[in-house]
Each structure stands twice: as C-alpha cells, then as structure tokens.
C-alpha cells in the first residue's frame, strides 16, 4: 500500500553536557486532584526515564493514598470529623480551583476521558509497575489517625522527614 510517509524534523533534544540527574523526589503535599494528577504524571515519567523515583505523601497529599472504600478514618472525633470533611481516596479528590461542589472534578474527569488522559488511578498502577516508591509520611498518619490498613496496597513503609531529605540530597526535588 502506497502511503505518504514523510520524515519529519523533530526539535533537537537538549544535549546533556552534565551528568544527568538519576533521581527524582516529589514531595506530594496537596491532595487536590489538579495537583496529585501532575504528581503522578511526573513520577511515572521519571521512573520511565530511568530515574530512581520516590514520592513522599505528606499532609493533604496523603489522602489520595487512602483506599476508596474507606469512609471515615481517625481514632478521635477531630480526626474522624476531618476525614468526613475531606474524604480520602482517588475517587473523592477535589479541584484546587473551580471545584463547584464536585461538578468541577466530574467535568475534568469527563474531559480526561474524552482526551484519553490517564486517570490518577491508572497512573498510580503504572507508577507502581515501574517501581516508583510511594512513601507515606509517618507523622501525617499519626496526626490524622490513619492506619496502614486505611491506605492502598503496594506502597512503601511509612517514613519521616529525614528519610525524605536524605533521598532528596542528590535528586531533582519537586514540592507539589
């Protein structure tokens, strides 16, 4: 079959004069859908590029790692109330802007579907397969009363700020 096959000019990739960074560390602080999404995109890509990639989930950023079927978390009434106001799990995330009581995320998800953009759940699966380290912050777990059973499977052991900063010492580090 005769097809019009054209060789095209791609922009020349930047030449790496320096030793490329081989590690990527992302501090996932926000649990907003529009922040955790690029967090998973960058984490997945970093690992695909051969970078040893670690994502630390801290403060609000820990909520996306809560299992979708877990509703109320926490041990005392304050922690329980906080989980009711800010339910965890990738299916319950809010947008940082234009949330409109959940209409914003619904529209965003529909747009993503139409444009074949992978959902945070799909990206999470790819990230785990590519060996991205997903590390929950121990202090946040204590603060919010989250147990290991409240969190999804396939993540790393909880760790603290020292572990995070040690990893970050020779890595490209992003705070999202």
């Amino acid at each position: 079959m005769a097809t019009m096959e054209a060789t095209f000019e791609a922009p020349a990739p930047a030449r790496l004069e320096h030793v490329p960074h081989k590690k990527l560390v992302i501090m996932a602080w926000s649990g907003d859908l529009d922040k955790i999404w690029p967090t998973f995109i960058l984490g997945t890509t970093g690992s695909a590029m051969g970078m040893d990639t670690t994502i630390f989930f801290t403060f609000w950023g820990l909520f996306p790692l809560v299992r979708n079927d877990v509703h109320i978390t926490g041990e005392n009434w304050m922690q329980k109330m906080m989980s009711m106001m800010n339910r965890g799990g990738t299916e319950h995330l809010k947008l940082g802007k234009m949330n409109f009581a959940g209409m914003g995320p619904a529209m965003m998800k529909r747009l993503a579907e139409e444009h074949h953009v992978a959902t945070p759940d799909e990206l999470l699966e790819v990230a785990r397969d590519l060996g991205v380290h997903l590390v929950p912050c121990q202090m946040t777990m204590d603060l919010l009363g989250l147990s290991r059973e409240d969190l999804i499977d396939g993540i790393d052991e909880p760790a603290g700020a020292t572990t995070a900063l040690l990893e970050a010492q020779d890595a490209v580090t992003l705070f999202i």
């Binding site: 097809t3 019009m4 054209a6 791609a10 922009p11 020349a12 995109i41 890509t45 074949h116 992978a118």
Partner: protein, 77 residues
C-alpha cells in the same frame, strides 16, 4: 529496514505520559539491541520520545509521520 522489529506498541489516542510510560514498560522485555516500534498520535510524543532516548540511552533509530500517526523505532541500549 533490514532489522526486524521485536515488538510493536499501538499507543494511538493516548496522551502524555502514557506513550512513554508504556514504551518504558514494554522495553523491559527486550534484549539489548532489539527494536521496539511505538505508534502514537499525541504530537507531544515527538519531543518526548527524543528526550526519553536522550535520557535513557536507548537509540531512536527512526521516526516518521504518516497521516497523523507518529512512528518511533527505538533500539534498546
């Protein structure tokens, strides 16, 4: 092309970062020197596949475009 392609990935319709991520997943099964072919429609894949090869050391031996489908042939390092 004289060399045979070991694996072909149909990534048409997928958006960033899946064309790269799925290629990275699939290339793990190849031996060094073997070829993988990725077909994508995301225009962002053009600079991204170049950048990915620069970063990983895999060699982009061929890239063509036909009716909106970008074809990348990559030799595993």
């Amino acid at each position: 092309m004289s060399e045979t392609i070991t694996k072909t990935l149909d990534l048409k319709g997928l958006s960033c970062p899946l064309p790269i991520a799925k290629t990275a997943q699939a290339i793990r099964d190849l031996q060094p020197g073997e070829l993988i072919e990725s077909l994508a429609t995301d225009p962002g894949a053009v600079p991204d596949f170049n950048a990915w090869c620069t970063s990983t050391g895999n060699v982009l031996v061929e890239q063509t475009e036909d009716a909106g489908v970008f074809r990348f042939v990559i030799k595993k390092q």
